[in-house]
Amino acid sequence: MLADGPWASLPERSLRVLVVEDDPGLRVLLSRTLRENGFRPTTVPASREMWRAMRTAQFDLILLDIMLPGVNGLDLCRTIRTNSAVPIIMVSARGDEVDRVLGLELGADDYIAKPFSNKELLARIRAVLRRTASGPIENPAPRETMQFNDWTVDLRRRSLTSPDGAEVTLSGAEYDLLITFLDNAQRVIGRERLLELSRSRLADVSDRSIDVLVSRLRRKLSDQSGGEGLILTVRGAGYMFTADVERA
């Protein structure tokens, strides 16, 4: 009902979001939140209705609850992935890392845990849409790992493993930044572009600079053999990731 409101001019205006959620109250609220922010939501309570909706319309994103009556969200995600690359965000009521990892391994693009706020939800949706808008075209083959100087990034689990086999914790923003560097290895990336790419993660924070983020990432990637050199500061231009990146 607010489709022609102040958000009508956003590019997401025409984007269709399918919400699979068994809680009626939440369906209404999600629908309203999405509509007020310029999306075209369709809500369904369970798998049967979901398949019906997917036959009649083309969706740009699916918001999929894990705890559904009948077939659960994880199984649905796997089934959808067999013939569609539509972006999927899993929603879980269990603040459980297992759900997150499983969801991502089954091909979901992101994961959001209840109770989330509208800001958090919209930020995730926009980030996924931005990522997938260019992703599949540039890299049609599914990537699973990336390697540089004996470091490994597991794209499914979103994890970084050091040369001596230890898992290195990264914040969401640090991970996104690292992926941006890996995707643009040996190219200078401007601060503005990095800020733009990381905005969904940094949206709530005002006084954070990309430099702080880079320095944190540098510290985590440092090792005895001079890991500082991995991310070069290019004076007046931005940053450059220097190592060769292998994809697998």
Partner: protein
């Protein structure tokens, strides 16, 4: 006195009972044996004496006088000697014991009944103990056939031998019994050990073996344990289900808060929801406790700690990480993350700034969280890790939360084989340290 002698352990007591039983049986059998033995010995003597007298009389009667000493010599044995005399050296007696012996002798050889037979006891002829039996019988020719049976009434050597043998036997039996009882006690000890281990994580199963009643105890114990853990599991599951289910209405509230126009109300509402979420998370984390089956992984603890500190710094809080860039450790990353972030949040709740240190010393990894808050009264330090314990009233500061934060930290750390150490800083503020054991090879620091 009897308390110190009476063994404390069941096995000891059973062994003591067996010991007493054996001693009693031993004494009893000695008494019994004594009589039987005396009787059979006398019987034997009576027979030999009877034979000597009958055979002696017959042979001596027919033999020429000059051969008599040869016959007497051949009749004599080591224990029984015979000789001839004209006048008896033995006086008639009325001794009851000797009369009984006489009756026994006559019972063997009824023909002797007609002869005059005198019996008496005498001091031993040679070195030795006890008494000898001497006797004389008048033969038809008027001579007296005398005999001396050595050590008839000396039963002690026999008794000593019996006692000795029985003692060795009793000792052996006691030893075997003690070993058997000890092995019977094994299931009992296993049960005690198992009972001691219950409640420290994994289910302890007692092998249902041993004697029937003990294996029944073991079975009952296992069943009881199963019931208890099922009971706890059911409750935990119910609580966890409620916790998870509450997330959906909480999400609705959050989304509704997003629609509120009045920013003041909206922020208050969001703060309330945030508090509820924190409580839910802490209850769920607490309930998860030991049932959490997160595997151990090699992680960079420095990266984990600094990420947690950075996240707080990004929210405008004064949190600093002071430590190495890398410290690799094998641990449960999610549990450890929960523990460390609880400590950081605690510090920021009671103080305004938090310093988080990480180092390695004496085979331990130390994560040190210091705040500048009021600290904890010394007498409360040991209580603050109990679940649902809150200091808030005492400190006059409403901080919310359920009082589970430090309990969760404690559980996580103890499960990793480490410990949580709380102390007040001299300059004010609390210092919470997580100390984790570390195998030298599994950790590297950079």
């Amino acid at each position: 006195m009897h308390i110190t002698l009476w063994p404390k352990g069941l096995i000891g007591r059973i062994t003591a009972v067996i010991l007493i039983a054996i001693v009693l049986e031993f004494i009893g059998s000695i008494l019994l044996h004594d009589q039987v033995d005396t009787y059979t010995t006398r019987e034997d003597h009576a027979r030999r004496v009877a034979e000597l007298l009958v055979v002696g009389e017959r042979l001596l009667k027919e033999a020429p006088p000059e051969d008599r000493h040869i016959i007497l010599q051949s009749l004599s044995t080591k224990h029984l000697t015979a000789q001839l005399s004209d006048r008896p050296s033995v006086k008639p007696t009325t001794d009851e014991k000797l009369n009984r012996l006489r009756t026994q002798i006559v019972a063997w050889e009824p023909s002797l009944d007609n002869n005059t037979l005198r019996l008496a006891t005498a001091a031993p002829s040679e070195r030795g103990k006890g008494q000898d039996l001497v006797g004389a019988m008048q033969m038809e020719d008027g001579h007296w056939l005398e005999f001396r049976s050595r050590d008839l009434f000396g039963r002690w050597p026999m008794l000593y031998r019996t006692v000795g043998t029985a003692a060795i036997l009793a000792g052996g039996v006691l030893l075997a019994a003690a070993m058997l009882v000890h092995s019977l006690g094994a299931p009992l000890r296993a049960l005690a050990e198992a009972a001691d281990n219950v409640g420290h994580g994994e289910t302890v199963t007692v092998l249902e073996r041993g004697p029937r009643d003990l294996s029944q105890v073991a079975r009952a114990f296992n069943a009881m344990q199963t019931r208890i853990s099922r009971l706890i599991a059911d409750r935990t599951q119910a609580l966890a289900a409620v916790g998870h289910d509450l997330r959906t209405p909480l999400t609705r509230m959050r989304l509704r808060a997003g629609f509120m126009v009045d920013p003041e109300n909206r922020e208050a509402m969001e703060a309330d929801i945030c508090e509820m979420e924190t409580m839910l998370d802490s209850v769920l984390a607490y309930l998860k406790g030991d049932s959490d089956n997160e595997p151990h992984r090699r992680i960079d603890l420095a990266a984990l700690v600094s990420t947690l500190v950075d996240a707080n710094a990004d929210l405008g809080r004064d949190a600093i990480y002071e430590g190495p860039d890398h410290l690799v450790l094998e641990t449960r990353p999610l549990a450890m993350k929960r523990a460390i972030s609880n400590l950081i949040e605690n510090g920021l709740k009671y103080g305004d700034r938090v310093r988080v240190g990480l180092d390695r010393a004496d085979g331990e990894v130390r994560i040190r969280v210091e705040d500048d808050g009021p600290g904890i009264p010394e007498e409360e330090l040991e209580h603050v890790t109990s679940p649902f314990f809150r200091l808030d009233e005492a400190r006059g500061r409403d901080t919310g939360g359920l009082g589970l934060g430090l309990s969760i930290v404690c559980n996580v750390v103890e499960r990793e084989g480490g410990r949580l150490r709380l102390s007040n800083l001299a300059k004010g503020g609390l210092c919470a340290e997580i100390l984790l054991p570390m195998a030298e090879r599994q950790s590297t620091m950079g």
